[in-house]
């Protein structure tokens, strides 16, 4: 199966190269993430006590929306230039290519958000006990968001304005991740054990990892067929 691994690696490399050549798409989610966090204190209240109560949910909502915004581009350019047709005509399994693309996408969106998140935590006066919970929950939660988002992106890639539709399709599936993610941060802040929340986030990730690439592959077939 070395050719299959080879394809996984090549696709991963290709998508990273593409992302670094389109710099604006690369920094978009991060800038959005930072803007939300910096506007909130201005718009609502700069009161530290108040903000530190909001912080766990706020960082998570911002991360969720930033991921959602970046999903639309996952298959778009491949669809437009015909690469997607070539992908679907490969004798190799499609889910593998999808998985590789999502991994590359997550590294530059979800993982980047996770790394920047403590900075936002500080800006929003999140107590320092909450930081490990924030990082861990984002680390387990954002890949799930990317994987689920890939299904929505695959379903809407053939539509001219798919952005809104992705949100509608995918948001209900994002809610559980949001709930357990922000609860994990909350628990960390109050000193309660995190294990339960993290286990649930991990379970959701395992489920998404197993099913989402296959679903996205099938969705791509439908989109290209139309």
């Amino acid at each position: 199966m070395s050719s299959t691994l080879q394809l996984f690696r090549q696709t991963f490399k290709r998508d990273l190269t593409l992302a670094f050549r389109r710099k604006s798409e690369l920094v978009n989610p991060l800038i959005f993430f930072l803007i939300v966090a910096s506007l909130f204190p201005i718009g609502v209240s700069p009161e530290p006590n108040f903000l530190s109560q909001l912080a766990p949910g706020l960082v998570w909502v911002a991360a969720l929306l930033a991921t959602l915004l970046s999903m639309e581009t996952l298959f778009k350019s491949d669809y437009e230039d015909g690469s997607l047709e070539q992908l679907l005509l490969s004798p190799q399994p499609v889910f593998l290519v999808v998985l590789s693309k999502v991994l590359a996408h997550w590294l530059l969106s979800g993982l980047a958000l996770t790394i920047v998140a403590p900075l936002l935590g500080v800006m929003l006066f999140l107590p320092s006990e909450g930081m490990p919970g924030l990082m861990l929950s984002l680390l387990l939660g954002t890949p799930t968001l990317s994987l689920i988002g890939a299904i929505g992106a695959a379903l809407t890639v053939g539509l001219r304005r798919g952005g809104v539709l992705i949100s509608l399709l995918v948001l209900p599936l994002y809610i559980p991740v949001l709930i357990f993610g922000s609860s994990a941060v909350q628990a960390a802040v109050t000193g309660l054990p995190l294990d339960g929340y993290l286990a649930l986030l991990g379970a959701m990730l395992a489920l998404a990892l197993a099913l989402a690439p296959i679903a996205a592959g099938a969705a791509l077939r439908i989109s290209v067929s139309g």
Partner: protein, 217 residues
Amino acid sequence: MAQALLTAQSLFCERDDRVLFDQLELAVSEGEIWQVEGRNGSGKTTLLRILCGLSSHFEGELYWRGESMDEVREQFLSELLYIGHQAGVSAMLTAEENLHWQCALHPSLDVSRAQQALERVGLKGFEDVPAHQLSAGQKRRIALAKLYMSRAKLWILDEPFTAIDKIGVAAKEALMVEHIQAGGSVIMTTHQDLSSQIPLHTINVEHFASTQREWSE
């Protein structure tokens, strides 16, 4: 009589309440070049997409080497080279990067011949230039370079010569003749006149179009 590679039986395709073709029969054997004819919008591209399995909006049967397509799809894909209307060339990648990814997708492409193929299509010296800086014809040539690297049995080419100059077209024609002499087959659409030396089979999609509108339930 050579063995039929790809057989299509009683194909029916309808789009926007218009029947593109009905009862279309096609049998492509080894060593044959088929040209699909028809005016703009008559369904040539649709037919090619159905044949290679990209589109599933049709009724009828497809067979690869006499076996039902559903059962031997993987085998079929490993022997297919498809160059579509959109060439599958990523504008932000260089010619070389594009070809390398294509090779990873399609084991029937010989990656060791990539350099030579780019030379043959006249892109020597442009290997490291991102495709968006190349002309339309040069971009098309990146996709056509795959013809020089392919070990696939069946080539399905949708308007391969768009934006290609005369010398380029002549070279590709010669290549196709070489391909069928080695036992391969080609199905293609083009609006250009092909050289008369090519043994050409033609099928006109419009002959299978039903004149009156049909309403399906």
